[in-house]
């Protein structure tokens, strides 16, 4: 293994840790969402009290918990794909095919990062707030969009590099990680 390949493997371990951390955070957000909605239900039914944020913030929590997991889902190969043909291919051909596939993934996720960043920036610039009673500045919940797609881009970049390293013989061919 070249020193670059060794560095790449080390970074991969760091990314493993980061992905786990994001999934843990997302789990806490789901818990928070469950509690928030139940507080709304109990408050409204028994005490004529409304949080006034339960439906709005449930949406924000949902965005956060799902978008920060894209990265982990990609790296653990959970994002759905039709793998019937690819699994039939062997070694080198699979890696040759892997380069354009990773490039397309990278291109799409970079464009979406840029698009969501633009939207975030527009709301930052205009100081837009939500319409609901909380009047939350939108740039706060929307931060997660460029973050999530940025991380996804990072995941595809890692795939691209891995495919190239395998093609050039710097990583073993059937390396289990990254996929």
């Amino acid at each position: 293994m070249t020193s670059f390949a060794r560095l790449f493997v080390a970074i991969g371990k760091g990314l493993d840790w980061m992905g786990e951390w994001f999934v843990g955070l997302a789990s806490l957000l789901l818990l928070a969402m469950g509690i928030l909605i139940n507080v709304e239900v109990v408050g409204r039914y028994f005490f004529n009290f409304s949080t006034l944020i339960s439906d709005e913030y449930s949406g924000y929590l949902f965005s956060w918990m799902t978008l920060i997991c894209f990265f982990y889902a990609l790296r653990t190969d959970r994002l759905l794909r039709v793998d019937a043909l690819v699994t039939g291919l062997r070694g080198k051909i699979r890696d040759v095919l892997g380069v354009p596939a990773a490039l397309i993934g990278l291109g799409v996720s970079v464009i979406l990062t840029q698009a969501t960043y633009t939207m975030w920036h527009t709301n930052w610039m205009f100081g837009s707030v939500s319409l609901q009673p909380s009047q939350t500045p939108l740039y706060i919940p929307q931060m997660v969009m460029p973050l999530g797609f940025g991380l996804l881009s990072l995941g595809y970049l890692e795939r691209l590099v891995a495919a190239v390293l395998r093609l050039t013989g710097q990583l073993p061919q059937q390396g289990k990680h990254p996929q």
Binding site: V23, I37, A84, V108
Partner: protein
Amino acid sequence: MSWEIALLIYGVIVILCLLAGIEIGVAMALVGIVGVSFVSGSQLWPTFGDIIWNTTNTFTLVSIPLFVLMGEIILRSGLSRRFYAGISHLLAPFPGGLAHSNILGCAVFSALAGSSMATAMTVGTVAVPEMRKRGYNDALTLGTLTGGGCLGILIPPSIPIIVYASIVQESVVDLFIAGIVPGLLLAFLFMVYVAMVSLLRPEMAPRAPERPSMAVIIGGLGDTIPVALLILAIVGGMYFGVVTPTEAAAFGCLLATLVALLYRDLTLASFRAALRNSVLTSCVVLFITISAQILSFAITTSGIGRGIADVLAHAGVGPLLFFCLLFLLYLVIGMFLDGLSIMLLTVPILYPSMIAAGFDGIWIGIVLVVFIELGALTPPMGLNLFAVKSIVPETSLGKIGMASLPFALIIAGFGFLLYAFPEIVLFLPNMMRAH
């Protein structure tokens, strides 16, 4: 560029990407980006930001992680094991045994869930491990789940019906009531099919070894009580105005946790695993949904949606042929788009011509829901297939698709049954209105 050529190009790109093993979501988003760029360069790219934000903030999706969490808690706390142990004794005399309980379970959870994915996933998480343990063939198990999940949007509450009602301004209440009989009838047809398969190919669904004694049956009934109470409490919560359908998901999680704690079955580790799995499942679902919305934006901007609708509206044929054309159209669209996109894209354009063809507004809504269900079972874009795939990641989509085929055929036939006997849809709402 004409819409016909655009359609051809998009189709080719999607198929190539899928064959190359590219993630389905990425393939759809790519076509979306390409399509939008054809029409207006990169000027409309910021719109993808609006699409993503508006999709992740829809109430339709927010309840998914909570419904999955409820299922996970029921599963991991052992409540599901009790339920299945109990119900298997009760269903043992019937050919097909537990496979029926999937259909019944889906029908029951449909009264809780507004989407077919949530229904399939909730029942599926519980059912798959139990049925595998008892030696049922996956081809039957997985089909009953993808098919049974379809009941989720026919039996109220139903998200696509709400969307349809909001577009054409039919009564949500009438539409909900209209969905009940077709939902139950479809569940019945599924069960007839399961019984037939079990009789013809007993190896698919092993019968319980011996007839259970009365004591075992009573014990089994006792085991079904916690889950039955849970469902009753949630349905009751909605019926008596304590919770809205979305809130019911969170309320259900709370109740499930309490029941599980009562049985001292839920450990902290299993609770964490439940949270984690719900989050990841929702993440996978959301990725696809966002991409489908981006794709449908491209389909709008390139005029494919309006183009197809125009062809149909000006075909100038009788009602039966018109219905056949509709069926074919939705069959094709359903292969590539998710149900909500289909509603949003086609209804505004097709509704006037359907009314002109003499169909009833309520009936159209229910028939469209049936068409959408069919789309949820057809690859490459079949949301129910994906939902079940997320429960059994090691099983290929192709295998899940094959398992779903008989159920897709039943649904297709069911659509024509509703055409022949519109009263199946209309008699209940008409009766209620007469009161």
